[in-house]
Symmetry: C2
Subunit: 501 residues, 2 copies
């Protein structure tokens, strides 16, 4: 039995919880889901992939579910057949509690005038300019009035309803703020958001290569960051100190809310926004060819891919002709095409063979210990083939120094990491491919450690914020030499120690 | 219209998402839910509370839902009417993907022998000894074999199924490990858990009062911590280095997994476990009376409360006569009774009046700035009246120094915080009550800042790990003197700076 058959047999006739679970409110099917699945198949074909290959076979339904889950704020609205404000009022309505204000003296507290702040609510939203998820730390403050308070978890739930849409940071802050003001009717509401937007792989390649190596803590480094704020009522009054108190309490929790950074423009926030969207998609096709990017023969046109994304947006209950969304399908396809399948192999391409011997020993990144060279913290951004969502982090490569063959310089290794990352991937395979590529030119022994954050682990139903994944591949001398392995791992942990916990 | 009527009117006839949402798999009702709700009403009455008062009216259904949600790992089993191993196999079955091993050379990678680790999966479980939730950071490593890998999110999902039960750390690690071994059939699995169990309020009072003041980062300080590990296959082999590699990768992510701390006994893990469970609950009643704890007349006996908790355990699909669960109802009631309603008021009790004048100015905790005294980082643990789950953190109290009345010493303020914390509470009210109590003896001006972590924000469907809540109450001179307010907040932030970000 071939491997493919074996895998098929494993799945045949089985209950598949990935497909039937995590359903929010609706049945698993429906015409909108079918439309989205077909659209994702078009995208996979446009990427030069076989959408029927193992690993991609269920990607269309996974992606459709992730999109629906990620925009369920819309779906709640659509499902409920009620007005939008009504829905939020429903969330908070059952959770008002009478709390007396102060019973004597002048002051503010309890159910009247005392500041209440919920800090560090982790949210995920989708950028309306490019359909990529962005990460949010949301802070909400309000001043109760009328001797009543609202259940604390409701502030988080309302924020989540507005995050789960195609959004833009300032509008998100404004919408959460207005919805809470209208539903709770307090003396004032203030919403502060810290938002992080992932960058292009091409941009990532150019940024500071000396990223801190701890992916779960530094995961937002190298992302575009913006802070936005929205306020109503007493928070808007210049002479009141409520706004100052709110921001002081945010500082206490380590939020470092940088007001000077507020108001990052949409162009600098979403770097894809700065793309000129061509009148015709033929331009895009021509540009890609001019840029020399090699596709396996695309079986579908870029126009079809752009149309497919527009149909996804429509299926999510959004209007693709809304001003902010007009260029979105083009931008998303542009992002995706960074991960299009290439049939060339970097090893056969002669690239690495040319790169060796060019090593300069003055390179500060190289640790020479017992002839082991370590190149640490090579950043990467790949696309998870199961969910079409990015995973990103750092690669550490250790290899035995070979007097004859010399070393590979860091930028060549970085280019190689970029090459293998820029396609639909799984972390285990990416780790193996990098190891094999290095081993193919430097035969003695190679060890690769890859540490990554998977957006699919947080932006879908899983929501395991802070989790990170590490994989190891070991070839040649490293697989028998435990001391060498330990030395390389120690080299990585030294960098950790230098960066600090 | 009275305030109560107004609150009632707000809720009447409304859709209540707290009650109808967050339902996992089942309908909202069912006989088990009704049994649990009745049992919670018995507990509320045993605490001397009016279960019909606003704020508590929906507590029975909230608590029942939280228990069901927190033990849904059982429910999945019960619902599915399938064997236990079968269920976990269903979770992973749809998520196997073929991944080639290395195509040449000696080594381990990809679908064969390369270590795969998912770190820092945040989970919550319920302690089987006392029914209180405990917090978990779960790390899973496995060595793929047979040229296939499993979807990364499945490791987290399987861990969650076993966490969502009445558990004990070592058994939890063993069960996750065995379930993954049996369903994935890799070369080996290793599961490492870091667990934190909340302490008693009475114990909390005695621990180091100089806790770091950042609740969201230090929230686990002062909790009982234990680390456990469970391994199968190649991780158990002494000569293999897989186990070392796994723990090294955990150190990279800052886990500081302390193997020397492994194997904390169940008695030191759950402090309630060290209670002698009396043969008869009459003993408990007598002990409580001997200890001089003043209850408002309990309308239900302690025996009824213990029986009510046993009925909750039964409704969750557990056997209350299972060895580990026999003393659990008694221990949970013992914990709850820390929060029983008292009709005395600490202000009328003369306690604070006796405490003033006893201040020694050598107390290092007092910052005297413009006559403002600051007592910072007074720890507390209260019980959320909406969910019967703890919220805990620190209180900062600032008050104007009064030459005539002198100061209140820190231990008296701590006792007061403890007094107001040890009942069914909401954070806004607790903040107000502390401010009022201090103001009643030191009239010039009082400001209270309370920073807390609410377990109800993470252990139910909300799962906002890392969020924290801050409230402010301001009385007298502080409400008009913005400079004084700012000085006090600055005193708090100075402590932050000293502790470090």
């Amino acid at each position: 039995m071939s491997r493919e058959e074996e895998m098929g047999a494993l799945e045949e006739g089985r209950f598949d919880p990935e497909v039937s679970d995590n359903t929010v409110g609706e049945g698993a099917g429906g015409p909108a889901m079918g439309t989205m699945e077909n659209a994702v198949r078009v995208l996979l074909m446009g990427l030069g992939e076989d959408s029927e290959r193992e690993g991609l076979r269920k990607t269309p339904i996974r992606v459709a579910k992730a999109f629906r889950e990620g925009t369920r704020g819309n779906n709640e609205f659509v499902d409920a057949f009620v007005g939008y404000r009504q829905k939020v009022e429903d969330i908070v309505q059952g959770a008002f509690f009478p709390e007396a204000g102060l019973n004597n003296g002048i002051g503010h507290a309890g159910g009247d005038g005392g500041l209440v702040v919920v800090r560090d609510i982790n949210l995920f939203s989708y950028c309306e300019s490019c359909l990529l998820p962005f990460s949010i730390k949301c802070h909400v403050g309000y001043i109760p009035s009328g001797q009543r308070v609202v259940g604390l978890s409701k502030l988080s739930r309302v924020a989540d309803v507005y995050a789960k849409r195609l959004q833009e940071p300032q509008r998100l802050a404004d919408e959460i703020c207005q919805a809470l003001q209208n539903s709770i009717r307090p003396a004032g509401v203030s919403v502060a958001l810290q938002c992080w937007h992932i960058q292009f792989p091409k941009v990532l390649k150019c940024i500071n290569l000396n990223l801190p190596r701890h992916p779960s803590r530094s995961s937002m480094q190298g992302w575009v960051h913006t802070s936005v704020c929205s306020s109503t009522g007493v928070f808007e009054q210049k002479k009141s100190s409520f706004s100052d108190d709110f921001h002081t309490l945010l500082q206490f929790s380590g939020a470092n809310f940088d007001l000077s950074n507020t108001g990052c423009s949409i162009h600098s926030w979403c770097l894809l926004r700065s793309l000129d969207v061509p009148e015709s998609n033929d331009d895009m096709m021509r540009n890609n060819l001019l840029n020399g990017r090699i596709f396996s023969k695309p079986v579908v046109s870029h126009t079809s891919m752009v149309a497919a994304v527009a149909s996804i947006i429509l299926s999510l209950g959004e209007d693709p002709s809304r001003k902010e969304l007009v260029g979105t399908p083009y931008r998303y396809v542009h992002w995706l095409m960074n991960f299009s399948r290439s049939n060339i192999d970097i090893r056969q391409n002669g690239f690495l063979l040319n790169a060796i011997n060019s090593h300069k020993s003055s390179n500060g990144y190289i640790h020479r210990e017992n002839e082991i060279n370590s190149e640490l913290n090579l950043p990467f951004c790949a696309q998870c083939e199961h969910h079409l969502l990015p995973f990103h982090g750092v690669v550490h490569i250790g290899y035995f120094h070979d007097e004859e063959k010399k070393d590979i310089d860091r930028s060549s290794l970085q280019t190689m990491v970029h090459f293998y990352g820029c396609k639909l991937q799984v972390q285990e395979r990416l780790t193996r491919q990098i190891a094999e590529a290095v081993y193919s030119v430097l035969g003695r022994g190679v060890m690769v450690v890859l540490e990554a954050n998977h957006i699919c682990m947080v932006s879908r139903g899983i929501e395991k914020v802070g989790s990170s994944t590490a994989t190891i591949a070991v070839m040649g001398q490293f697989s028998t030499d435990i001391t060498a392995k330990a030395l390389f791992l120690e080299a990585i942990s030294k960098v950790t120690a230098a960066v600090g916990p």
